[in-house]
């Protein structure tokens, strides 16, 4: 229906997560209407990110070069590792301003239903980092989901007695209503209650 390059653009945009054919079409026409400068900036940004961004050799976070900005920062505490599922999980932890250690990105979470086993994650690499000797505490910050909990248990088994292991606390989100809390979350909030 459209000239072939437009159809190709719609098809490529339609491959993005959460983008259906109609949205892809709307985005394609937006790109067609936008200035050459804006459209080429988008194309360059996509090319650049694919050419220059890889994974950190140490922690598997996104990196421009062999080591990510966090691993190369001499001000970060080298005794502390925070284990997360995906690179995007690093951002919210950094935003808190409460954490000054290093990270380890697993690349997913254990899920027997989806066939994701320990060998599919970077757990061996984490164990090797701990065995290297500098690490004193591993903070397990996998998602508080069933797969995230299963992963946390597995890591706990692998690293038990080798290092101090901690897990992010579970509880009620700030500003939430108690009446909407589910029983498991509220139960954990009660277990982890603190004196005021």
């Amino acid at each position: 229906m459209h000239p072939a390059p437009v159809d190709r653009l719609i098809a490529e945009l339609g491959k993005l997560p959460g983008i259906g054919r109609r949205t892809a079409q709307r985005l394609a026409f937006h790109i067609l209407r936008s200035s050459d400068e804006d459209a080429f900036a988008l194309a360059t940004a996509i090319r650049e990110v694919k050419e220059r961004i890889g994974l950190c050799e140490t922690c598997f976070n996104l990196a421009e070069g062999p080591t990510c900005a966090i691993c190369s920062d001499p001000r970060r505490s080298r005794e502390l590792i925070c284990v997360v599922e995906e690179p995007q999980d690093v951002i919210p932890i950094e935003r808190t301003g409460e954490y000054r250690g290093l990270y380890h990105v697993l690349g997913g979470a254990l899920s027997p239903i989806d066939g994701i086993d320990p060998d599919d994650l970077r757990i061996d690499e984490l164990v090797r980092r701990v065995e290297a000797g500098e690490i004193e505490e591993v903070v397990i910050a996998t998602n508080p989901t069933t797969t995230g909990e299963a992963t946390a248990h597995h890591i706990g088994e692998r690293l038990r007695d080798r290092v101090t292991l901690t897990r992010l606390a579970s509880g009620l989100p700030v500003g939430a209503d108690l009446e909407h809390a589910d029983e498991v979350t509220l139960g954990r909030a009660l277990t982890g209650r603190r004196s005021v």
Partner: protein, 246 residues
């Protein structure tokens, strides 16, 4: 017919979708397998809280529109199985059990027996969680998982013939199991099967005929035979391949 309906159900699988939604695979008491979308459920302040995670047993309010997916409009916890969630091996066993239900029972027809079985299995794993591989009654969790699958075969109409030879009806001299024949086979008909011990045969009969919490002890070789018997039966008759029980 479009509209809202209430049903009790268990979350078998939860898949992240879009920015903050989840797609849920549910097994419900009234409608069998139902797929639904829970909009905004991954936001920390979602009114669903964490109760749309796998293995939660819920009272659900669902809206059925023109889409293939229902929309979750309400969810109250019947049982969250909190102890199960604190035990890695129990989570793994529950996930494999839910996977078996997902693969074997994919129709929208209600199956009360299968639904009740799934709830009892999760409750059993929850009671035995943290007990180092044993369930509440001390039975091996692996054996309980096999018994669950055998009962699931019964509930879904694929129970193997265990009383007599599935080919000739002979009651004595049972030596093999044949997935193609659909049960145990005698020495004269054994060509199509694999050897099955008296212990494995007894375990299968006890698991199908008795309560899941009162299983006889079973050795590792017999367990492997039972696992293979279940796998062969399903592969031949339901065209389903299950993941190993452990």
């Amino acid at each position: 017919m479009p509209g809202s309906f209430k049903t009790e159900g268990v979350v078998l699988r939860s898949i992240r979708y879009g920015e903050a939604d989840r797609i849920l695979h549910l097994y419900t008491a009234e409608r069998g397998r139902v797929n639904a979308i829970a909009k905004g459920s991954r936001r920390p302040r979602s009114r669903f809280g964490g109760r749309l995670e796998p293995f939660f047993r819920l009272d659900l309010m669902l809206h059925e529109g023109r889409s293939e997916l229902c929309t979750v409009t309400g969810a109250a916890t019947v049982d969250g199985y909190p102890a199960l969630r604190a035990d890695g091996d129990a989570i793994d066993a529950a996930a494999r059990g839910c996977d078996a239900v997902l693969r074997l029972l994919d129709s929208a027809e209600p199956n009360r027996a299968a639904y009740g079985l799934l709830c009892r299995y999760l409750a059993l794993l929850d009671r035995g969680a943290g007990a180092d591989g044993a369930d509440a009654a001390g039975a091996d969790r692996h054996a309980v998982g096999l018994a669950f699958r055998l009962k699931l075969l019964l509930a879904s109409g694929f129970a193997p013939e265990l009383g007599s030879c599935a080919r000739c009806g002979e009651r004595e001299g049972i030596v093999s199991f044949s997935g193609a024949a659909g049960g145990v086979v005698c020495g004269s008909c054994e060509a199509s099967g694999f050897p099955v011990s008296a212990e494995a045969h007894r375990f299968m009969a006890a698991a199908i005929g008795g309560p899941i919490a009162e299983l006889p002890p079973v050795s590792e070789p017999a367990r492997r035979q039972v696992d293979r018997a279940i796998g062969d039966t399903l592969a031949h008759h339901a065209h389903v391949n299950l993941r190993a029980v452990a």
